[in-house]
Amino acid sequence: MSNLSLFLGCVAPNRYPGIEAATKKTFSKLGIELDDLEGASCCPAPGVFRSFDKVTWLTLASRNIALSEEMDDDVLTICNGCYSTLKEADHELKSDADLKKDVNEKLFETGHEFRGQHDVRHVIEYLYQEIGVEGIRELVTAPLNMRVAVHYGCHLVQPLKEADSRLVSGDITFFDELVEATGATSVDYEDKMMCCGAGGGARAAAHDATLRITEKKLENMADAQVDCIINACPFCHLQFDSGQKDINEGSCTSYGIPVLHYTQLLGLAMGLSPEELGIDLNVTSTSEFIEKINDGSLMA
């Protein structure tokens, strides 16, 4: 198995650095070293930049992969959008020699080359396939006892249809299984596989309409009486976390569901404190949730 370089993307390091810290800390506990991907850029975002200019999208994506290949690493993403871009660009370039040649002609100007000899992984499918549910369970030192709304996100599932269809055929459960390995209960709720609303540049183009999609999801999650939302993508994370504030201001609602990335949930189950994982740095208050972690009422 190749070593991994951590591809940060934009939203995690620049809005929710707790996700970056949680990834580094949990992987360190797993005994897996993550190399920094120095000089990496935006992936660039799959629905936005791919639809503005596909050549630009492929060129910057191939540079990010090339930086990782130069260290003989596979790429590890912690964001669905980054996964979609890097996985799909990697696939297109590996299967189209002319396209690869075109992109490499540009990359040569910056001293890089896309060789296409490595892989792109998403943290959730990586943990599921390489560590396994049992492997995660064995590393849990502080089992959780909470009701969780799992949000897969569209761009975790879609690239896997091409890359590893056995994970996404029939009932999709791999993410729920990883969540339950921490002791938490993944609660079923209406329209669970629905989009968060933010993707494809819609958040910038039609902000209010995207929030109405988010509100529908929040309503269903709240009906299921969950203690928190668990996602696999900093952009979904942003839409749910800062979205609750926007929705409450606009619709006189009072949503207050804590939003955590899976690596933050795993960190709690590995005995790390909420503060070490940046769970206290959200827009929507998590103070009540943190109190319940500390007084043990959300712990097994």
Binding site: L8, C10, P13, N14, R15, P17, G18, E20, A21, D36, L37, E38, G39, A40, S41, C42, P44, A45, P46, G47, V48, F49, R50, S51, F52, D53, K54, V55, T56, T59, L60, R63, K106, L107, E109, T110, G111, H112, C154, H155, V157, Q158, M194, C195, A198, G199, G200, G201, A202, A204, A205, A206, A209, T210, R212, I213, K216, E276, G278, L281
Partner: protein
Amino acid sequence: MSSNIERCYQCGQCTSVCPMGEQEQTYRIRRFLQMEKLGLETEESMMVPFIFYCTTCYRCQDNCPQDVNLVDAVLAIREKAVHKGKMLEAHKKVGQMLVNYGHAVPTNADAMEKRVHLGLDKRPPTVQASIEGLSEIKTLLRLTGFDELVAESKPVEHVESAAMMHQTCFTQQQVVEEGA
């Protein structure tokens, strides 16, 4: 971009499950596909800006009985519109972020403070901490012409300067009147 929209027979299964279509009456993916098939470019105002509302959730595609690659089709329609100068201002700004910082969402003071609080480097080890890396991004975006694509267009500047002139004239006139 691989497109197979000729397979579409307009059943509307796509629009019926579209979360954006549910919120925005103007967002009708079935209609966009048919317009594209018929080459109705004169009706472009019915497509822009709505075509940019797609969240790329793939629900339409999952529900299509004809296996049409709907999301690829939407992205291709968008790309054509963008290259004809129909990019939304909000998206142009995101594009300018990429050109200027190498990130669609660059860092800010709040993020840097949170990073330090978490024991991370103030700036992440991306192009934001690498002048050389950022210069590579700028080179590549120049080679692909992306920097031009998202540059402020001249007609907009003219409109703005005309508006400013109007404002200036108005203010001067007001001063004269008030002075009188």
